[in-house]
Amino acid sequence: MAQKLSDTQTDFPILNQEVNDERLVYLDNAATAQKPNQVVEALVHFYQHDNANVHRGVHTLAERATAAYEDARHKLQHFIHAEKPTEVIFTKGATDGLNLVASTYGEANVKAGDEIVISIMEHHSNLIPWQQLAIKKHATLKYIGLTADGELDMADAAAKITDKTKIVAVAHASNVMGTVTPVKALVKLAHDHGAIFVGDGAQAVPHMPVDVTDLDVDFYAFSGHKMMGPTGIGVLYGKEDLLQAMPPYQYGGEMIGFVHRDNSTWAELPWKFEAGTQNIAGAIGLGAAVDYLNNIGMDRIQAHEQDLVNYLLPKMEAMPGVTVYGPQDPAKHTGVIAFNLDNLHPHDVATALDMEGVAVRAGHHCAQPLMEYLGLVATARASLYLYNTQADADKLLTALQETKEFFNHGTVKAK
């Protein structure tokens, strides 16, 4: 079994609490991750020593704040292996970044009759921006389907992506199916047809090494809060030449060159896309999260989660009444495990697990078209991170068993 990756006791005080008189077992990491003290301390340090607005200040605090903010950009650049800091734009989160691309690149490049190709398992944040763009532009939105195992159907991808395709947008890792998509192959398919590829890295960057240069993605968006950073900060990576050619997304302070009464020019990259005061402390906190993850090593984090899945998944699959979605082979399954129990509604399951201190999510996971495709209304979902342990997995298994028994003892089950 995996060794301990982090000193949970000291780094994550939030996990040392009881919920409903039970030890908290936090398995809702795909929704948001907990923050190590190192990240919280970076925020506190910034606010108590260096807080100032960045870029335009001549005074000492402003200079310190600017250096810390741009330093965070460099950390993020190296973390995802972008070639230049100018290709790293701070956003509010993955949703903000994906909307940015749809509203600027998409708006400028998609015309009537063009096609946008996404997958049926996209999160709403990588679905509705394209859907609405397609509606507005009279373009066609096409969905790549899944294999029986819940993986992306690459034969279908090859069929759906055509010379009419302008944009292919797919999640690097699914927030429901527990699958990783072959981004590199998708990028090649897209490029072969003259389309650009937009990666949604929200569930990938926190859990595995990601190299945007090697993947050759054109845009790639992710959120800080899912990788132990603060809320309200994220990153959009974009290739410099594409970003250069794009119009700005928002207008305001910091993103301008010259402003005249009737027209304006824009700042250089990356600031052209950072209008107004940014989440300065958030960026710095995200930089601290990157330090934390790097200290452990993304390879080790990925291996640790894989070990846990290898332990947990077969036991869940073996439990009568439990249905696990996505690949049944643990080797192909990430730490995101969507499941249902008997014919209980997942909402009831999540409430019962919460009584046992186990935090899981229940619902459509912002993926309604996927639910429809799978013929489901909703599922429960347990999702792991580096601080989870075998004991956490065991607790989930016990709690599931007890939940089963509780509802079987009652005279009835929900429809």
């Binding site: 209980l344 229940a362 509802f407 009652g410 929900a414």
Partner: protein, 155 residues
């Protein structure tokens, strides 16, 4: 505590209603209908009401998917408002949603709600309040003939 607290949420009568919901069917004819959604989980309720010319609830039926709480709440709500006047039903909806957020009400008002009154301990499970109030909210909006909307408002 483990699961013991669950007993106070999933009372026998609630499980009964969820297992054998009353009025869970479409109506042949209706005067007021609405489709509402619980944004927390994606559950949906289609509520159909047939009002008499003098605004009494002659029939009521619901369809849709949902958790134990939302299904049994819809069932208990339907039982409680059958035969009531529009005005009475609206008052009951108000009582219920007040109850769900912990506002005090005279016992007589609660009695009106019949089985549904048992959901008062939903308060201990704040994440489930919306499940319980969804059908009452649908009732209110259907009776007030508000247009269909996609989701429930903050309760």
């Amino acid at each position: 505590m483990g699961l013991s607290k669950l007993n106070s949420l999933y009372r026998e009568v609630i499980l009964d209603h969820a297992d054998h919901p009353h009025h869970k069917h479409a109506l042949a004819e209706s005067t007021n209908t609405i489709t509402l959604k619980n944004p927390t989980c994606g559950d949906v309720i289609n509520l159909e009401i047939k009002l008499t010319p003098d605004d009494k609830i002659a029939d009521i039926g619901f369809t849709g998917d949902g958790c134990t709480i939302s299904q049994s709440s819809a069932s208990m709500m339907s039982d409680a408002v059958m035969g009531k006047s529009k005005e009475e039903a609206l008052k009951m909806a108000k009582t219920f949603s007040d109850m769900a957020i912990g506002k005090e009400h005279p016992q007589a008002d609660l009695d009106e709600l019949q089985d549904a009154a048992i959901l008062s301990n939903i308060m201990q499970f704040p994440a489930r309040i919306k499940c319980a109030t969804l059908s009452w909210w649908a009732l209110q909006r259907a009776l007030l003939e508000e247009t269909d909307d996609t989701s429930e408002e903050e309760s």
